[in-house]
């Protein structure tokens, strides 16, 4: 949701004169309804091409997991491809493949989601398969024995053999001392080694209920069509009580933390993370929108402050970025990272100084009207561009719903954002960019360890 942060961050200026053109095309009709068993369905019509995307989002992810059982949500995601009442292991993928569908799944802290993109006449197959594995997953022990090896390979590939990813995993564990966001989604290797298929069955039975899911369909369909199909395939799956899910709340001011890591890299890098609220946890949503605006001012384009000043003006960094995900179920982090420009003999200390200059300036000086206008232009254009992809529309809807917000936010957030004033930006910077909220990682080449 980084792009949302960037795009939607603008619009603080009170006069929001949307150019007519931006909404010249009718906004796609979007419908929602809830089946008797609690399954929520959102349908967005997009009739440009005879294709459709179906996504089902479950409210479970790594932030729901407990120590010793990390990686369960993701492992279950893998096992969801290993057969249910109507089909054998791997068969659903084969059926969908032969229909020319793209399908996959993804897991994060806050959600587990499955999707299919396919020609519109094939939507019933996608829904029948999805309903079948929600109702009757098999979880064969022998399939699990092989699949857990695949998952370990995935961990080696994406984390253990990627120094940057490994550093970021440890950084997050430090930056979230109190909440489930501490846990890496793929799970710690020691937990993968001792994971049992019975634990997965328990996880599945706990969380995979229709009343804990959202079905999102975007494309060349009507609400009635989808309603009929959803009722037909999902309607008979009984509602089930799910465990109470507590929002992952963090300590507001845990104190400054420093992690020094030596990894197999040639270049040092710096990570900063400030403990901040999300839209779901903030007392005043305006502070969250102010943080989103700040992220756009810092890194919302090649003319933003980090590339313009740190990368080009001062030539302090080879690269730098900031990001803030306001759309999490619990508290969030405001992240900054940078690699020093070693060709210019810049050090991590120089970079830290440069970063603090940017942050402190936000506290003291309101952003200029031109800067805000640029962010606003990107926001408005981005709303149009995002409509070019049915998948990105569906993902936005599914993610908002799953973290406890509403998809209707897409339509209303322009108004929300325009209430943010330059003073709100300064207040947010003063409140949140403090040492008490800060985690720092110095990621260094291994050679330095011997110094």
């Amino acid at each position: 949701m980084n792009a949302l942060a960037r795009r939607a961050a603008g619009l603080l200026l009170s006069t929001l004169c949307l150019p007519l053109v931006a909404f010249a095309a009718d906004v796609q009709p979007t419908h929602e309804f809830i089946l008797d068993n609690g399954l929520k369905v959102v349908v967005r019509e997009d009739h440009r091409a005879p294709v459709v995307v179906s996504q089902i989002w479950y409210k479970v992810g790594s932030s729901y997991e407990t120590p010793g059982q990390t990686g369960l949500s993701h492992a279950l995601e893998h096992m969801m491809f290993k057969g249910s009442a109507k089909i054998g292991p791997g068969e659903a993928s084969r059926i969908l493949r032969d229909l020319g569908a793209e399908e996959n799944a993804f897991t994060s802290d806050d959600y587990t989601a499955y999707y299919q993109v396919l020609a519109r006449d094939r939507l019933p197959v996608a829904l029948e398969l999805e309903a079948d594995r929600l109702a009757s997953l098999r979880l064969p022990a022998d399939e699990f024995a092989r699949e857990i090896e695949v998952i370990k390979e995935e961990r080696r590939l994406r984390t253990d053999d990627q120094p940057s990813a490994k550093a970021f995993e440890l950084f997050r564990a430090m930056a979230f001392p109190a909440s489930g966001y501490h846990t890496p989604t793929i799970g710690w290797m020691a937990d993968l080694e001792r994971m049992k298929v019975e634990e997965l069955r328990h996880w599945y039975e706990s969380w995979y209920a229709p009343n804990n899911a959202t079905l999102v369909v975007v494309g060349d369909v009507t609400a009635d069509e989808v309603k009929g199909l959803a009722q037909k395939y999902f309607g008979s799956i009984p509602k089930r009580a799910v465990p109470p899910a507590k929002l992952p709340l963090e300590l507001a001011e845990p104190g400054q933390r420093l992690l020094t890591l030596h990894v197999r890299t040639q270049l040092p890098s710096l990570i900063y993370g400030f403990n901040v609220p999300s839209l779901a946890t903030a007392k005043d949503p305006r502070t969250v929108h102010a943080l989103r605006l700040i992220s756009a001012l810092l890194d919302g384009g090649y003319s933003a402050r980090m590339p313009a000043r740190l990368e080009r003006g001062q030539e302090l960094v080879a690269g730098a970025s900031s990001s803030y995900n306001a759309f999490t179920r619990g508290d969030s982090l405001f992240l900054l990272s940078a690699t020093p420009n070693v060709q210019k003999q810049k050090t991590l200390a120089d970079v830290e100084k440069g970063v603090w200059q940017l942050l402190d300036e936000l506290k003291t000086t309101p952003p200029s009207a031109e800067e805000l206008e640029r962010v606003r232009a990107q926001v408005i254009a981005g709303l149009v561009y995002d409509r070019d992809s049915i998948s990105s529309q569906a993902t936005t809807i599914g993610q908002l719903e799953t973290v406890g917000l509403s998809w209707k936010l897409i339509d209303s957030e322009l108004d929300e954002l325009k209430r943010v004033t330059p003073e709100d930006v300064q207040n947010a910077a003063r409140t949140y960019f403090t040492r008490e909220r800060l985690s720092v990682a110095h990621v260094l080449p291994e050679e330095s360890a011997h110094e």
Binding site: A8, I151, L157, V342
Partner: protein
């Protein structure tokens, strides 16, 4: 609200977060499975599948219009009025295969386009695009260099965005301070790549496969070649490689034919004048064999390659379909089934033909825990040898054809995908009916034709192999799942 690519030339992924947040957000990608597995599979109880009529699905009809500008640029245009926006993609035969003796020249030239025009420095250019809500993009590869623009179509946005785009593409000033900075960023990028065993393997593979051919060099050049590149070289390269006669202009969006002609004319007229550049020579056959590079990772990366085909090769439909069955990325391919599903040896394994201006590579790519790497390599070689020997089964071919027909509607569902297709059709000089032709030719193929084409272009003993990982004592592979392989359920058709 989802990611759209930032309109900036990011050389090293702007540090850790850009790399890692993307992973963290959608960690756990392909939880996927195979095909010909088994288990107590009940008869077809999928009601929805039985109800499908088996016809190929309908798809969005594209009316591709084309013409040539006064200066000789080829233009392809699709009018799409649904959204008030347009995509412009200008492709030049200006990739690293035109570098000559200066690896990195094409990349540096491309990266410098938006660093300065008359009266504007890099920040002013970025402010110009971003103030209009327009996305400028650029990129340089082995064959091609690309400059692209996505903008709202309203006149007050479109016209200034196009004016700036035309200047940036056709009349860049190449400021000296920017060149120094971008060289430094490239050098940082080379350092950064050293932590990545996959990158190391890829570089070594191209070097072994292509020898003295320009495709052997990484597009970005090297730490040795980049520092010496001069502004004069950039200007000379731009003058010949960004010439109108060497350009293909692809346009999709909310424009009339007249407006599209005006857009193309403006872009073309601003470019240097000149003809298309000659293609590089065809590469010569490499020496088969295995190269190992020691690296302290947990996994060993395995890359296996041979020379494949160029984009004009008439065997492309047969090879594409043949490869789709062998290891085309989906689940249920022979490689995915044997290596991942039956044995749990890897997270992902795929094979690919990359047809290029001249013979591009055929590659198989995977990674596995180091102690099983030798056994896994042998397994993959055996799968390829067996496939070449016996060819696909009739069932595999029928399934692949259905898959292809079913996926066709997805290939032109968005403006972004259409503009990419137009760019490729124009760049490789394919007929406007290329997509339809490809589909028809593919559907007409027989098992024998696919097998013959695969064997004409590949041989099990010609593989150039690169492995990157630690040297550790090897273990035997686990036994594959012993469940009987059943005929797949299949999709009703005919």
């Amino acid at each position: 609200m989802s990611d759209r690519s930032a309109p900036r030339y990011t050389l090293i992924g702007t540090g850790i977060i850009a790399l890692v947040v993307a992973v963290a957000a959608v960690l756990a990608r392909p939880a996927h499975s195979e095909a010909e597995s088994s288990a107590a599979r009940p008869a077809n109880t999928l009601q929805s599948l039985a109800e499908l009529d088996g016809k190929a699905p309908s798809r969005r009809q594209l009316n591709i219009q084309n013409w040539t500008t006064a200066e000789g640029a080829r233009v392809l245009f699709v009018e799409a009025r649904e959204l008030p926006m347009f995509d412009l993609r200008v492709t030049f035969a200006a990739g690293s295969s035109q570098d000559g003796n200066t690896p990195g020249l094409a990349t540096l030239t491309n990266a410098m386009l938006n660093e300065g025009v008359a009266g504007k420095d890099v920040t002013a250019i970025a402010e110009g695009f971003e103030g209009l809500g327009a996305d400028f993009g650029n990129g340089s590869y082995r064959d091609m260099a690309v400059a692209s623009l996505r903008s709202l179509s309203a006149k007050d946005k479109r016209e200034p965005a196009l004016k700036l785009f035309a200047e940036v593409t056709g009349k860049p000033t190449f400021p000296e301070d920017a060149l120094k900075r971008i060289k430094n960023q490239l050098l940082a990028g080379f350092e950064y790549e050293k932590q990545n065993p996959g990158k190391i393997a890829g570089k070594a593979l191209f070097s072994k496969l292509y020898g003295d051919h320009p495709y052997a060099q990484p597009s970005d050049g090297s730490a040795e070649s980049v520092p010496g590149i001069s502004l004069e070289q950039l200007r000379a390269f731009h003058a010949k490689a960004y010439a109108a006669g060497n350009a293909v202009i692809a346009l999709v969006g909310d424009l009339s034919r007249e407006e599209a002609e005006a857009v193309a004319a403006q872009v073309s007229a601003t470019l240097p004048k000149g003809p298309a550049l000659a293609k590089p020579a065809q590469p010569v056959e490499p020496k088969a064999g295995v190269t190992h590079i020691d690296f302290p990772s947990k996994q060993t990366h395995l890359m296996l390659a041979e020379l494949g085909i160029d984009r004009q090769d008439p065997d492309w439909p047969a090879l594409s379909l043949g490869n789709q069955i062998l290891g085309g990325g989906a689940f249920g391919t022979r490689l995915m089934s044997e290596v991942r599903e039956k044995r749990g040896l890897t997270y992902g394994v795929y094979s690919v033909f990359s047809p290029m201006q001249v013979r591009g590579p055929f590659m198989i790519n995977l990674q596995t825990r180091a102690e099983l790497s030798e056994g896994t390599l042998k397994l993959v070689q055996d799968i390829l040898a067996d496939y070449l020997k016996s060819g696909p089964t009739q069932q595999e071919l029928d399934d692949a054809k259905r898959e292809l027909a079913g996926s066709f509607p997805l290939s032109n569902a968005s403006n972004a995908s259409i503009v990419g297709q137009l760019g490729a059709i124009g760049f490789y000089n394919l007929p406007l009916t290329w997509l339809e032709d490809f589909m028809q030719q593919s559907q007409a193929l027989t098992v024998e034709q696919v097998k013959t084409a695969m064997n004409k272009h590949l041989a099990a003993d010609k593989l150039v192999i690169v492995t990157v990982g630690p040297k550790v004592p090897q273990k035997p592979l686990p036994a594959p799942t012993d469940k009987p392989s059943e005929q797949p359920l299949g999709v009703p058709e005919h």
